[in-house]
């Protein structure tokens, strides 16, 4: 229902916005010429069209539109897939979707293999002449078994009648299949059982109650049409199984084959260990003979009727699909529903592109603090005692420098705290104060890592960058260092940083710090050295001190560059963060994505991608606001 409304809304929004855009062009009178930035201003309607287009593509390729408008189609297509699944191995034998008979192909390739083997034996230096002639004789015999299978006259009546029987079965099925009454109503009991089973069967889509469960496609037929295909699939399966058990092993062939087998066996047992190569050749010949035995090879015309009946059935089943066929073609782009043994699944873009509605459901589930991912919520809060902060801020050695000794347990087994131990408790945060809520969870952890890395980068990078822009020593001294490590992709540092600084937050934050540090240096330096000389001269002549020039001329001048650098650094930090969390993680968005990948949880993967996109956007929008507020002089100096 939700998807339906959204689809219509998008459709109307796109049409409306395009019309609106065209009207504006007609009515607008702007004397801006081409190249004037005024012409690019406004245009919210195009933003709507752009976003709608993304959403529409997503809805379409994830097959959510199909799910919204035809919720039963997956179940029906699953039944059709069952028919196709049963037909597949039969169809593959005939030149229906192939260019030639499967048996033609086998005969061709086996003839080639036999000839190749013959040449090999002929040219082999390592076997005796008597072995050679024996082996070549065997090869000839093996080759002669093929005509025994393809000769129409040798075909046994029993085999022939069995083929006819199967063909008739297909023809009857085709006739029945078109009737409204098909499948015949089974006993009331069975029908009730099916209805009961239907009630417990879920709908199409991913489960909203467990993170682990993936897309479900209801497999028990729900509609009349589905029932029809389901019944036909079962019948076809029986026919197909019977056919594959059938072999064209007439008495002539059997005796020829037995002769070959016995001869090879006798020959190989007669050979000693010294004639291993000859023995291997004999084995290879036996392999070819066995392959021919296993293949379903029949005389060329025998299966014609069967082929016809299959083609006819295929045509009829396509016709019976009716409107479903068009739903399949138009609303299931780039793939379809496939049946595999006991279940049906989406194969194609629907598999790896989860439906917006399912993703939303799963996201809502993940957001529940009691569910989360791997027992950690995405974002939530926990109550933390303020004492922990005190313990973090007060260094532990303060307790050590207090005169006196730490308490020792007394004879009655009790420990009496003294001043020294009490201070140690405060320094380590082992006391009770009031509690405050602090955020926690995967998103918060990732956010904090990026934020810390960025802030540290700014704190250290900006002053150093300005310094490098203004001072010959600083420029010369730090330049080789910075320039050497800056071009290295941050990911290249990842394994090393994790080995040195460990797998905790320190290593990850340091990695992000390295990323933002170099960017901040470059931008601050460029900003500082880009200050107009005339302004510096002017402030000098007005009697400004060095500090004043730095504070009131150079810094404001480089601020636009610095803030642009921050925006670039944020993007780089997000990219690096995910990789760092891939390597070793217990929390964080990158960790979630990495683990979800291993369990094929595509919804979760997409959720992490969206969360990262949204957080990046949040950072960027905030920064844009800061830029607008703090540096109104940008681009005007």
């Amino acid at each position: 229902m939700f998807t339906k409304i959204i689809t219509f809304l998008i459709f109307f929004a796109v049409v409306g916005c395009i019309l609106h855009g065209r009207r504006i062009i007609k009515t607008e009178k702007v004397d801006a010429v081409f190249g004037n930035p005024e012409r690019a201003k406004g245009g919210t309607h195009w933003v709507i069209v752009g976003s709608s287009f993304i959403l529409l593509t997503w809805l379409y390729y994830s097959w959510d539109i199909a799910k919204g408008f035809y919720p039963k189609s997956a179940n029906e297509l699953c039944q059709v897939a069952k028919v196709n699944d049963s037909l597949l191995s039969l169809k593959y034998l005939f030149p229906i979707e192939q260019r030639q008979f499967k048996s033609t192909f086998i005969i061709k390739s086996e003839n080639k293999n036999i000839d190749k083997l013959g040449v090999e034996i002929q040219n082999s230096q390592d076997i005796r002449d008597q072995d050679k002639s024996k082996l070549l004789g065997l090869i000839k015999k093996t080759k002669k078994t093929i005509p025994l299978l393809t000769n129409e006259k040798l075909l046994e009546n029993e085999t022939n009648s069995k083929i006819n029987e199967l063909t008739n079965k297909i023809i009857w099925l085709t006739e029945d299949f078109q009737k409204v009454s098909y499948p015949p109503i089974k006993s009331l009991e069975e029908e009730n059982k099916r209805i009961e089973a239907l009630k417990t069967q879920g709908g199409w889509g991913s489960s909203g109650t467990a993170v682990e469960q993936t897309i479900e496609i209801p497999i028990i037929p729900e509609t009349k049409k589905g029932l029809k295909f389901d019944a036909a699939a079962k019948e076809l399966k029986i026919i197909s199984d019977e056919f594959f058990k059938l072999r064209n092993h007439n008495p002539d062939y059997k005796s020829a084959m037995k002769e070959i087998k016995d001869e090879i066996k006798e020959y190989r047992s007669g050979l000693g260990d010294t004639h291993e190569i000859a023995s291997t050749f004999a084995k290879d010949i036996l392999k070819v003979a066995r392959r021919i035995e296993y293949a379903s090879i029949f005389p060329p015309k025998t299966l014609n009727a069967m082929q016809e009946s299959l083609i006819e059935f295929d045509r009829v089943q396509k016709k019976e699909q009716g409107s479903l066929r068009y739903v399949d073609i138009f609303l299931f782009p780039a793939g379809t529903i496939v049946s595999s043994g006991p279940s049906c699944s989406e194969q194609g873009s629907g598999r790896w592109l989860p439906k917006p509605s399912d993703t939303l459901n799963k996201f809502a589930l993940l957001l529940k603090p009691s569910v989360g991912f791997k027992n950690i919520p995405l974002i939530w809060f926990e109550m933390m005692d303020v004492s922990k902060i005190v313990g973090f801020l007060v260094p532990d050695w303060i307790a050590d420098i207090i005169p006196g000794e730490y308490p020792v347990h007394s004879e009655d087994g009790s420990v009496k705290p003294n001043l020294k131990s009490k201070i140690l408790n405060i320094a380590t945060g082992e006391f009770k104060l009031f509690k405050i809520p602090v955020p926690m969870g995967h998103i918060w952890d990732s956010f904090l890592r990026v934020f810390l890395g960025l802030v540290l980068g700014i704190i250290f990078g900006v002053p150093l960058g300005l310094f490098m822009g203004l001072n010959r020593f600083a420029k010369g001294f730090f330049d080789p260092l910075i320039e050497l490590y800056r071009p290295v992709p941050p990911l290249a540092w990842a394994p090393l940083v994790i080995s040195v600084l460990g797998i905790d937050n320190v290593g990850k934050v340091f990695l992000l710090f390295m990323v933002s540090f170099s960017i901040m240096i470059i931008s601050a330096r460029a900003g500082a050295s880009g200050t107009q000389l005339s302004k510096i001269h002017a402030s000098h002549s007005l009697g400004a001190s060095r500090w004043q020039i730095l504070r009131y001329v150079i810094f404001p001048n480089s601020l636009p560059e610095i803030l642009t650098g921050v925006r670039v650094a944020i993007g780089m930090c997000w990219g690096t963060l995910v990789a760092a969390e891939f390597l070793a993680g217990t929390t964080g968005i990158g960790f979630v994505e990495n683990v979800a990948k291993k369990y094929f949880q595509y919804e979760v993967i997409w959720i992490t991608i969206f969360v990262m996109g949204m957080l990046g956007l949040l950072f960027d929008v905030t920064l844009r606001k800061i830029i607008d507020k703090t540096i109104p002089w940008r681009g005007k100096g």
Binding site: I106, T214, K287, S340, S343, G502, K598
Partner: protein
Amino acid sequence: MKKIISFILASIVAFSLSISVANSAAKEVRVAFFLEWPTPNQEDKVKKLFDKALGVPVKWTNFANGGAMTDAMLAGDIDISYSQGLVPFINAVKSKAPLKLVDIAMEYGMGGTTCVTSNASGITKANASELEGKKVAVPLGTMAEYVFDESMKVVGADRSKMDVIQMDPEEGAAALVSGDVVMACLFGGNSIKAAVAVGSRLLTVQEARDAGILGIDITSVTDKFMKENPGMLRTFIEVTHEANARYAAGKSDMNVIAKDAEMKLGDMKETIGGFKFLTPAETKKSMESGNLAGFLKGMDTPSGAVDTSFLPL
């Protein structure tokens, strides 16, 4: 405007086509395998005996883990995965991937997949409950996670109380060396060697075997390939079992296998010595009622993922 619309339509068509073309069958068999995981049939692979037996070219691609094999099979780039780990296969089947298990490549003891505790932590099998509340590195979603779970049951430690960190074996070994974690579960000769240098196995190979912890690697195949080329699949499995029989008789060319596995001869012999290659009859038994069946049941695998009809019995 017209140009934009036609561009959009054209790209939609191109996108749909590119996906459907990628799935169409080719006249070759594409097989996935692992490096540093020696198997007797690699001799046949090098000597092109598979190409000969199947009658079409066989293209071998090496992968880093079983999950990637599944991905490639679903994308239609691989037909048969040889010696895929059972855990990645089960994860795939649980997510309704159209794959079938048709053969057991080998069973192996804990030699190749194991959990190692650091000596510095002083944790051994006897006081393993001390692992609770500490950090352990586990490559989630692999055979090593299974070994980890089973080992914890054996030593009586509670997994949910540990801080389980997702780490690939190489990083897990590095974290164990640096002391970041007290235990690392890993697979692969080099990683285990690095980890054992600073620690010891939580369960010895024999202890693990006694506890019934064993790894199973399997041959999996896409439904499509199985339906379309049952003969080829049968031949592939037959040739593999012949190679196994040859290895059992001591007639395999170990140098060829070592070279193809990209291992030193000595290391390769040690690794392959830890594998147990089953005969077709043993395989069928394992698949129907033995180790494999028990494993699948223990991991709540949906039924219908196993097909024994291709075994050369």
